[in-house]
């Protein structure tokens, strides 16, 4: 049965030059799990909001939306369609977990005894019992987002809409969240429409994928056929880069038959078609060079005198001009390590040397002038003014650069990062990716030699990550040392010169990404897990594809699979 039908929907924001949505046709069947993907700014959020009339933005709308057979305007109550958004924090309304769960039902005037039963049921289903009476502020990000989901489900919706719900979560919390969605869809038969840019886990479990671009739906098919659909539109369609590793490798080597979706299927596919005889020789171990930008020598840190140690003797040497990625799970102390290096926290034992000088010998703000800059996890925290230009101007002002030169510097920096058109906008009105570029511009204005970045890929889609990678490489070419703290193993594998693994306050291993990820069996990229038995050294999709190509050309075997796959 058809639950949702959208007919020729177009939408234009007031004073906008073009349509945000352009002739959207779409149906969702009862019980379906539908994934909506596309680059940032393609209209995903607008489309999802239009589907829930309480959230529909103001503007010019044509076309019609039917919900359960009736026009959207006639449908009754807010509980029918549940909506979960990206930011776990701002969706929570009340101070207690139980109250948050009850909030929607209170609004609908459900009697107290019914609320008690439904809230209890929902808490049981989600395993919330343990933190049912806790304050919402004490929860982790993953728990907050689960609470947001439960608080919507308790209203017993027929359709659940989610707008990038895992964007702000770490990989483990994100995987948990997606597993829960799958459970809801399978066990309760709830219809789910989900917009997401992290596709690795979600792709294999959905029934159908919609790809949006410039306000239109460009592809609408089962996940197995999406790669072929996109290739048919353009062989190097940008969306192809965002697909899961198995799909990307299969599509790049023009695989035949059913498209693999999971790591397991991708692995089977590779093992069926390749022998792995051309394994590239392992990289030679590179000697420690003497020129270090940052040195940590046996650094110990704790927040309070009686608190447990967060860093327990961290020792690391970061070379001048390299991209160094510090990886590790939640609570391993990554962010703390970065704060200590940035001079925001003080180690109680050990030594931190920045550009050959102990960190304590930097007087006043001299550490932050032409030496070291820090990009916080949430780029919004960098902005305090009404326009981006005024915000950027803060840095040259305090550096004592003459007025006449300030505008030039800002202009140059804006051009370099491609944000010149945003200078007069309010920083809060920018998208997540834009905000990050602008924040980067601001911290770079202090002309640092060392740049620290805390989770720079959080909330970014594949295109924005690609853009960030190019910017980081460009900075590296200029001789800037980059130190990243990240959860994102894929990004680290493709970007870093060296990776380090921090666990329980200690650095366990430091190596080049190839050697680093080849040495890990669990904490590694999807590409590496797929190619493990064939080419242990291939850790990114590009490297796996290159290995495949090399083997093909050596054996002279042409993989002349039909490009259309199975349509």
């Amino acid at each position: 049965m058809e639950l949702l039908r959208v007919e020729d929907l177009s939408f234009r924001y007031p004073n906008a030059g073009r349509n945000a949505l352009d002739g959207i046709d779409l149906t969702v069947q009862n019980g379906e799990f539908v994934l909506l993907c596309g680059p940032s700014g393609c209209g995903k959020t607008t489309l999802l909001q239009m589907l829930k009339k309480e959230l529909a933005p103001a503007g010019e709308k044509t076309g019609r939306i039917f919900y359960a057979g009736a026009p959207q305007e006639d449908s009754a109550d807010a509980g029918e369609i549940g909506f979960v958004r990206q930011d776990p924090e701002s969706q929570i309304v009340t101070d207690k977990v139980w109250h948050e769960l009850a909030f929607g039902l209170e609004n609908m005037g459900v009697p107290t005894d019914t609320i008690r039963r439904r809230v209890g049921e929902m808490a049981g289903f989600f395993g919330i019992e343990g933190w049912f009476r806790q304050k919402t502020d004490e929860l982790s990000g993953g728990q907050k987002q689960l609470l947001n989901l439960a608080a919507v489900l308790v209203m017993q919706p027929k359709l659940l809409i989610l707008d990038e719900p895992t964007g702000q979560l770490d990989p483990i919390a994100a995987a948990d969240f997606i597993t829960t969605l799958q459970k809801i869809n399978r066990e309760l038969g709830l219809t789910v429409l989900l917009a997401e840019h992290r596709l690795e886990e979600i792709f294999p479990i959905v029934d159908r994928v919609l790809v949006m671009e410039d306000g239109r739906i460009r592809a609408d098919d089962e996940p197995q056929h999406i790669a072929a659909r996109l290739t048919a539109i353009s062989p190097d369609h940008p969306m192809l880069r965002a697909l899961p590793a198995a799909v990307r490798v299969w599509q790049e080597v023009r695989g035949k038959g059913e498209c693999p979706l999971t790591v397991k299927e991708g692995r089977d596919f590779l093992h069926r078609h390749f022998t792995g005889s051309d394994a590239p020789r392992p990289e030679p171990e590179d000697p420690e060079k003497g020129d270090f930008a940052v040195e940590l020598k046996n650094v110990w840190f704790r927040y309070e005198k009686d608190a447990p140690d967060i860093l327990r003797g961290v020792t690391a040497k970061i070379r001048r001009g390299e991209i160094f990625c510090l990886l590790g799970g939640n609570g391993a102390g990554k962010t703390t390590a970065l704060n200590v290096i940035a001079g925001l926290e003080r180690a109680y034992r050990g030594k931190i040397v920045i550009k050959g000088k102990p960190i304590r010998s930097y007087q006043g703000n001299s550490l932050y002038r032409r030496n070291l800059a820090f990009l916080p996890q949430n780029p919004q925290t960098v902005f305090v003014r009404d326009t981006l230009r005024a915000d950027l101007a803060e840095i040259p002002e305090t550096m004592g650069i003459p007025k006449s030169e300030q505008a030039d510097r800002i202009g140059q920096m804006a051009n370099r990062l491609g944000i010149a058109s945003l200078l007069e906008r309010h920083p809060y009105d920018l998208s997540g990716g834009e905000q990050q570029k602008c924040a980067l511009a601001k911290v770079l204005l202090s002309e640092p030699k060392i740049l620290l970045l805390d989770e720079p890929t959080k909330g970014l889609d594949a295109f924005a990550k690609q853009g960030l990678r190019e910017i980081l490489r460009e900075l590296k070419r200029e001789g800037i040392t980059l130190l990243l703290v990240t959860h994102d193993v894929e990004f680290a594998a493709e970007t870093a010169d060296r990776c380090a693994f921090l666990f329980d306050g200690e650095i366990l291993s430091v190596d080049s990404p190839r050697r680093f990820f080849a040495g890990n069996s669990f904490y590694t990229t999807a590409a590496s897990r797929m190619a493990r038995g064939l080419w242990p050294d291939a850790v990114t999709c590009e490297q796996v594809v290159a290995c495949c190509r090399a083997e093909e050309s050596r054996t002279g075997r042409k993989t002349d699979f039909p490009a259309e796959g199975k349509l």
Binding site: Q91, I92, N107, T112, V119, G130, N365, F374, T381, V382
Partner: protein, 302 residues
């Protein structure tokens, strides 16, 4: 996952419905503050002390004697030094008489002060913020939601504000050069936090609308349930309060310190008032004892 650290332990009385508990505390505090009869005062102090002990860990109560004993002595001694009423001089200090009556009145004041302090302490332990919120919500439903939202918003605001300050520190914008610079900087952060708050509020209100906020006939849910036992307790409280009140209004269980200490009445009506208040002040402790007995019976049966 963080575990909630509650101070002390929660006794049997903490499980009582907030409305009944509130009525109870009001009744006891009312009598404690206005009655200076020695018997009632002793009952009040003993009740408070026993209640306090059930709410605390073992060592805690002992340690607190170190605070209450000096306070007791101070209040008790201060009165006879400054008040020279009464007819039985004990000795003379700087030519002023220190009287027995004033000393007794001082002791009575001290008992009263410490008793009320202890009751307030128990009240604070039992009447947690969510219970108050619930009671407010019964009176003014809108207010309780607003309070709950405010309690939610404050920590989020403080965290964001700390993050902004840290980010600025790492950009070298907190120069520490001169007070004007620092004030200007703080001002900028504050102004930015206002626009951040508006932004945050927009998102939250979207989340509220999406969950049907603004429809007519909103109900108010709470985890508290008014059980028959709560009803019995409430009626009992009101009854005992009435006995004490009416008895006192009729002139029983009265006591005067000046000019000469009066006798402690022992008429049946006096005894009824003592008994009623004694039962009232010991109620939480008795509840606790009952709980322990029931529990150990259960355990012994297993």
């Amino acid at each position: 996952m963080k575990t909630v650290v509650t101070s002390g332990k929660s006794g049997a009385f903490s499980a009582v419905h907030p409305a009944a508990a509130m009525v109870y505390f009001l009744a006891v505090l009312l009598i404690s503050m206005f009655c200076f009869h020695p018997v009632l005062q002793v009952e009040m102090l003993v009740g408070a002390a026993l209640f306090c002990i059930t709410l605390q860990k073992r060592g805690e109560a002992l340690r607190e004697i170190g605070f209450y004993l000096p306070l007791f002595l101070m209040v008790a001694v201060t009165n006879p030094l400054f008040s020279h009423n009464g007819v039985t001089p004990l000795f003379f200090l700087n030519g002023n008489p220190v009287t027995l009556e004033a000393l007794l009145y001082g002791v009575s004041l001290a008992v009263s002060v410490i008793g009320v302090l202890l009751w307030c302490k128990c009240c604070g332990r039992v009447m947690t913020e969510d219970k108050f919120l619930y009671l407010f919500g019964k009176l003014i439903p809108k207010l309780s939601l607003i309070l709950s939202m405010a309690l939610r918003f404050v920590p989020v605001y403080l965290r964001q504000s700390r993050r902004v300050i840290r980010a600025r520190k790492a950009m070298g914008l907190f120069s520490g050069k001169g007070i004007t610079d620092r004030v200007k900087n703080r001002m900028r952060v504050f102004v930015a936090m206002i626009s951040w708050s508006l932004e945050h509020a927009m998102e939250t209100s979207a989340s509220m609308r999406a969950r049907g906020y603004g429809q007519k006939g909103r109900t108010n849910f709470s985890l508290f349930r008014f059980s028959p036992a709560d009803g019995v307790l409430l009626c009992g409280c009101v009854f005992l309060l009435a006995v004490v009140w009416i008895g006192r209004a009729a002139g029983f269980a009265a006591f005067s310190y000046y000019p000469r200490t009066g006798g402690i009445g022992a008429a049946p009506a006096d005894l009824a008032v003592y008994a009623a208040f004694g039962l009232l002040s010991l109620l939480p402790f008795l509840l606790e004892v009952k709980e322990v007995i029931v529990w150990s019976c259960c355990v012994s049966k297993i």
